[in-house]
């Protein structure tokens, strides 16, 4: 499976050469688009990260974690995972750091770690994606799609904890 990425890169480059595309110019053009794209993301990123930092520093995130742990436990989600499940929709890097912590604390093959991995791998940074996709557009009524996604993520998290017990 490690070969997938090299194969894709080599294939695309060779294909471009065969089609007589000027590879360097084209590659650079793509990167200059990446520059514009990243810069256009920066305002959203800054605002969301400030909100997350504030939420964390105020202790509200810990309170929410404590508050929701029993409810999550009722659904079969171990309390060690509550924070991961709560962070993931907001921050990919934050939840990745937390996942790392879980893996090193409980061991890579433990139930908690496997569960955490499955939850992490089968969910996305919902709020970040919604900010990035719709930045600068006048798309309204995003609440409904976001609620659908969050509900589905919760359901799949419950399923993950169940499936990891069996498989």
């Amino acid at each position: 499976m490690a070969l997938i990425i090299p194969v894709i890169f080599i294939f695309v480059f060779l294909f471009a050469v065969i089609k007589k595309v000027s590879v360097y110019d084209c590659f650079t053009e793509g990167i200059s688009e990446a520059v514009k794209f990243t810069v256009s993301l920066l305002p959203c990123l800054a605002a969301i990260f400030m909100m997350c930092a504030l939420f964390e520093a105020s202790g509200l995130s810990d309170m929410l974690t404590d508050f929701l742990s029993p409810a999550f436990g009722f659904l079969g989600i171990p309390k060690e995972l509550t924070k991961l499940v709560l962070i993931k929709p907001f921050s990919g890097s934050g939840s990745l750091a937390y996942l790392n912590e879980i893996i090193s604390t409980y061991g890579a093959d433990s139930y908690i770690a496997r569960c955490a991995c499955v939850c992490f791998g089968s969910s996305e940074t919902v709020f970040y994606i919604s900010a990035v996709y719709f930045a600068g557009l006048k798309v309204k009524k995003l609440a409904m799609p976001i609620i659908c996604v969050l509900t589905a993520t919760l359901i799949s998290t419950v399923a993950a904890c169940l499936i990891c017990r069996i498989l």
Binding site: E29, V35, F37, S58, A113, L142, M144
Partner: protein
Amino acid sequence: MNVIFTVVFIASMITIAVVSPDKLLSSLLGGAESSVKMALTLFCIYAVWMGLSKLAEKSGLSKYIARGLKPVTKRIFRTDDETANEQLAMNISCNLLGLGGAATPYAVKAVEELDKQSNDFAQKLLFVINATSIQILPTTVIALRAGAGSLSPSDIFLPSLICTAISTLTAVGLYLIGRKIWR
């Protein structure tokens, strides 16, 4: 997003003002700092993938892929537009391959393209699909577990696949139902 942002922001500010007022400014600055770090990381990812995808685009490779997937994308997203279909097809293929970094720029372009046709349905559907993760191989997680000395790092493959399928199908289902109810 507006509502959530405002509510969380104000609630956090009030709590922090009561608990430790000196931390307010420093945590805001800290947040801004980590957003710049994040932007740098993202830029690296996008530079690689958008460079590559430009090659695929200019050489006509993405057109071939799009043509192959057109029957699917056309049906799902209800759009006839050539450019939008190409971006959608590339987004879906990158997602399935687990190349999240490559998928995002395509999705953003697709959303902009769909905006021109005011295809609200497809925009939000694309968001729902992307926000529930549709990757087949969770490469990051497998690499992490392998690094932590797991005996069989890829044994989470099947559970992940099942959960991804569950979340995407549920979300799309809810979205279709929600659209019917709220219109």
